[in-house]
Symmetry: C2
Subunit: 202 residues, 2 copies
DNA sequence: TGCGTAAACGGGGTAAAGTCCGGTTAGGTC
DNA sequence: GACCTAACCGGACTTTACCCCGTTTACGCA
């Protein structure tokens, strides 16, 4: 179920997953996330409703899959990209850069991110990549007296929470102005938590 | 609509709101939050379904109202309680105390808190009291170079997020053990953000 | 105390999420 | 290449949140 394990998935199943994802993206652009119903998605993709639910579990699951798919690019940059975001820079700088990237990512995919949350059936609710990445960086920093696991969760939520909240409030979020404030706030928070940044003694 | 304004509400409407809240609490204990349907609530309270929706807007709205109601006690302690939590103590100590209280509150009302989130219709989504209270305390601290509004949002989400996430994951959360870890984590986070606590120079 | 109005009430109706199970097909094995 | 099994597919069915609008009721005012 996780990405590391090469679990077998039948060829037609994989094909249909891709078809559904593509169709969902099309419908998303065409009718918007609120009008994207499971029936419509099934009909447009030429599949049965049961198939849609088998693949994604719930309505929220589709949006989650869509978001994961978009997130893959960011994930690549983090794992093997250029230094401020990718490996090679001091952990604090990487934390700041990651927050910046994450905020922009969420702002760009705001409607999908929003749709991820609704629905009674909890869509997996895996621990997000943000938290894992933050935890790794915190471990590298080895902050004295800190519980890296808990702190990672706190920071991950501090990063996503306020932005998502704002996305819920206003129907739209326009230019880069509001995200800039969150980006500055994130830098400030990271520097406070990690004790004065800028001078990575190494 | 806010609590400060004494907006007029017809007597029968207020009476029914109380009746619905009480009935909902009863049903919550009897059948659990998942089986608490709007039809059932309407029937048990002897009212029409339309009335239920008029009062609370959505299913999530009921749980939100329930949670608000429970939160009132905590709110009182914050506004006029004894020092560590209430006014009189240094802001950092109050922040730590508030987090402790909030975590316990959420842990106690975990099922209601969880039910608050689901449903497609966003239930109001007001800025929670946590954030407001934290913002006030941060303003008192007057941290140099910090954006108190943004920071308050970050801390509020850092406080609630990890715990709510955990509540979603496991169906139940037993003793005080897991919350203790969050409480310690919160104290640590606050002290880091506010720059070494314990010694409020004043 | 009788009247007008604006709000609250009721409960049947709708749409959409999620379930079920009989039929079909992919892919490994001999 | 025939066969077997497990996984997949389809679409009708059920449940439930939410809407609508005709009817009733509380409350201010003359």
């Amino acid at each position: 179920m996780t990405w590391g394990t090469p679990q077998p998935e039948r060829a037609d199943a994989a094909r249909n997953r891709q078809l559904l994802l593509a169709t969902a993206r099309g419908l998303l652009a065409e009718v918007g996330p609120d009008c994207l119903t499971m029936d419509l998605l099934a009909e447009r993709s030429g599949l049965g409703k049961g198939t849609v639910f088998r693949r994604f579990g719930s309505r929220a699951g589709i949006f989650q899959a869509l978001l994961d798919d978009s997130e893959r690019a960011l994930q690549q940059e983090v794992l093997a990209g250029r230094p401020p975001l990718g490996p090679g820079a001091p952990p604090v700088d990487r934390l700041v850069a990651y927050g910046r990237a994450r905020i922009r990512f969420l702002a760009e995919n705001q409607d999908v991110a929003r749709a991820t949350l609704d629905g009674r059936k909890t869509a997996g609710r895996r621990r997000p990549l943000s938290e894992i990445h933050i935890r790794v960086l915190l471990r590298e920093l080895d902050l004295p007296g800190a519980d890296a696991d808990v702190l990672a969760g706190q920071l991950a939520h501090a990063l996503d929470g306020p932005l998502l909240f704002q996305l819920f409030a206003g129907p739209e979020l326009a230019g880069p102005t509001p995200t800039a404030r969150f980006e500055a706030g994130w830098r400030d928070l990271v520097e406070r938590v990690c004790g004065q940044a800028g001078t990575p003694a190494d």
